[in-house]
Structures are given as structure tokens and as C-alpha cells.
Chain length 199, copies 2
DNA sequence: GATTCAATTCGATATATATCGAATTATTTC
DNA sequence: GAAATAATTCGATATATATCGAATTGAATC
């Protein structure tokens, strides 16, 4: 079941009378006229609901004379339910979401056109984003002297030393003696690839 | 999960952006501000969606300074999904539906105030309801002569013989020699108790 | 204590849709 | 072929709600 199908199916399910229709059809098939009587609704209303359910594949109609006999399509319902059961399937609901959007918004707020920082945010989440951006100025595997580190950081902010200290404190820049090096992997897990808003 | 909870939960699920929120929270917890950036929505809109999801128990908030960090409540989601999986649970959605409503409507249409039939419907479903009503004039276990049967049926319609023949043809009235008797069980299955609109 | 900030609440608006009655269609019966 | 019947479609209306911006609240920082 793909995402837009799931949404349509859930919208079809999210109605009091349509749930009652499904409850009735779970017992036995019914014609429109009968459902209308059982639910105390007009036939046109029931027909509308059934069309909605049929569009989602939750019920199907079979012609019998001028009756339409509707039956429950249990398989569709169960595959919808299965989609909601596992976290892996849920994650796909946000598949097309650009996970860098928050980071880009924060950087847009604190980074001037010349690439320098207008200020350092104090809020932990935003601060983490900014320092992750600083880290991106260092190549993995390359070794830097303290002077080189500060030169690079000075491109972002005149007072480089506190930036360097915080990068080390965060564990993102490793120091051995007088040699600095970017750590290879910041964090195990799913948020390493796209969003750096870790706290 | 009871019925009204299920409806509220399904309504909470039946929205594009709320599904995307759940997809994101399936990966990791997020603050409102972050979700708003990722989904390109105002914070007030996201807050509204989260309140709706939280009301259904699908997410929960934890205060962290002036941040509200929301996380997915997987258990609620899975118990909702479980409700949709089995036909037995589905039938409960129509629990409070009066299954005799259709039969009563049909009888109201064809039965006059004095209990006599104004006419015999030709449509199979309605005809079945009327004949089921005729059958109810006979006690289970009791034996009737053909004359007695026709006397009883004449209370509904002057031309009793065709009614008797059709009751026998439907297998609802059993005849052995010249003795008639109501069959004990019309039909195995769930519709015997309430609705006789069988065809 | 004043200011800043994230979240929530509130009011307004636009869109979706649940429901009905009337008109139409398809099928059966007379 | 004409009348009756169930279902569907259509038009109208009322309700629900998704979204935003503004105002408010609660908490952290200076």
C-alpha cells in the first residue's frame, strides 16, 4: 500500500457511519436499501458512503437485478492495518520530506551572505546546527595544527578559539597532542545522514 | 480500544500532514519548531496537529525548557491497527445498530393497522421479510393441520393457500403427510437472531 | 526584572464533506 | 411498451477542519 492510497483509505475509514457500514458488512453482505434502513439514512447518503469505501477498495459491489449488493473486502482493510503496525512502514510516510530543511532554516538565520556568523545561537538545537556547519569546513582524514584550525574558524567568526574548544568538547573535533582531526562518524543511527539537529 | 476512540484515532490519522508528522516521529523525537521547518508549515499549525494526535494518544509531549519534544506512541497506533485486523472486532463497530430496522420498515410498508397485508411484495428481499412475519404466527414444536394453517394465514390475507405453499417451498414450514410444523432453525449463522432479510 | 524565545491559544477564512431531496439511470414486472 | 423500483448522480446546505497571523503564556537568558 503506497502513501496516497493509505491516506485515502484512512479518510474513508474516518467517519462514524462508514465504520458502521463496515461493521455490518463484516457480518454479511447487504444491499444499499437495507443499509439505509439499518442506519436510518437516505439511500443517496449510503450510496455516497459506499462509493467512497469502494474507491478505497474496502468494499465491492455485485449487481443483483437492480440491487447492488456490497460486501467487505477484508484484504484491503488488513493490508492498511499492517502498514500502521511496523515503524519501518511508518517512516516511509515521511519519505519525501527534506530532512535538511530545519538546518537550512537555522543557518539562513545566523549566516550572513559572506558566510560569516552574525552571532552564535544560545538555544541548544540551533547551536548544534551552527557548529555542525563549522565542522563541515574540515575534511575527514586530514590533520590540522591548532593554528590552521583557528584560521579556518576565523572565516566564520573573529573569535575562533572558543569555537574550537566547543567543537572538541562536543567530540566532533579530536585532538591528539597538537594535531586536530575531524572525527569520522559523529553519531550512529539514522540522523547522521541528513539532520544534524542533535542535542 | 472502544469504538469512539477508534473513530477519533482514525480521524487523527486521516490527514496528509499528520501522517508525515508520524513518519518523522517514527525516526526520532522532534520539537514543534523543527517539525514546522521540515514540513514547511507554521508552528501554530503543527501545534494544532500535534494536539490532535496527542488527544488520540498517538504522540506524547515532553517539556524541555520552552521546547515541547514530541515522540511517537507506537502502542496506540498498533492497537488501533489490531482493531482493524479481525472481522470479530469489526462487527463490534455495528454493535449498537438495530438489525431489525429493515424488517420493521418493510412490514410497516405492507402491513395495515389491522395486521392484514395490503399486498405481497414481489421483490425477493421484501417478500422474504413478509413471509418471515407470517411464519412468526406459528409456534415452534406445535403441529397444525392444513386447515389450521390456512386459518392462521387468512388472518393476513384472504387467499391463504398460495402463502402456505410458498412457506413450504422456502423450507420454513415442514409438511409430513397432512401435518404441518414450523422448522426449528431457519438458518445457521449470525443472521438468525435479528434480521430475516435473507435471499 | 526586562527581554527573548518556543509553544499554545484564539479568531478568521477557505476548503472539504456529510447529508438530504430531486432528477436520472438501469432493471424488472405487468 | 408502461409502470415500478433500487441505485446513482446532482445541486444545495450545513458542519467540520486545515491553515494562517496575532495575541498570550511559560521559561530561559541577559
Amino acid at each position: 500500500m503506497d502513501d496516497s492510497n493509505l491516506l485515502e483509505t484512512l479518510k474513508a475509514l474516518a467517519d462514524h457511519n462508514r465504520l458502521r457500514i463496515l461493521g455490518l458488512l463484516a457480518r454479511q453482505p447487504y444491499a444499499v436499501e437495507q443499509l439505509a434502513a439499518l442506519l436510518d439514512l437516505r439511500a443517496s447518503t449510503v450510496s455516497h458512503h459506499l462509493a467512497r469505501l469502494a474507491h478505497a477498495g474496502l468494499v465491492s459491489a455485485q449487481a443483483d437485478g437492480y440491487y447492488s449488493v456490497y460486501r467487505l473486502e477484508l484484504d484491503t482493510l488488513q493490508s492498511t492495518a499492517q502498514t500502521l503496525l511496523t515503524p519501518e512502514n511508518l517512516e516511509q510516510l515521511a519519505e519525501e520530506v527534506d530532512l535538511t530543511a530545519y538546518d537550512r532554516r537555522v543557518l539562513g538565520e545566523y549566516l550572513r551572505d559572506d558566510g560569516k556568523l552574525s552571532e552564535i545561537p544560545t538555544q541548544p538545537r540551533k547551536r548544534a546546527v551552527v557548529f555542525r556547519h563549522l565542522l563541515d569546513a574540515f575534511k575527514p582524514g586530514q590533520q590540522y595544527s591548532e593554528t590552521q584550525v583557528d584560521e579556518i574558524l576565523a572565516r566564520f567568526h573573529p573569535d575562533a578559539a572558543p569555537l574550537r574548544l566547543e567543537l572538541v568538547r562536543r567530540g566532533w573535533l579530536a585532538r591528539e597532542g597538537s594535531i586536530y582531526q575531524r572525527v569520522q562518524e559523529l553519531r550512529r543511527g539514522r540522523d547522521q545522514s541528513a539532520s544534524w539537529s542533535v542535542w
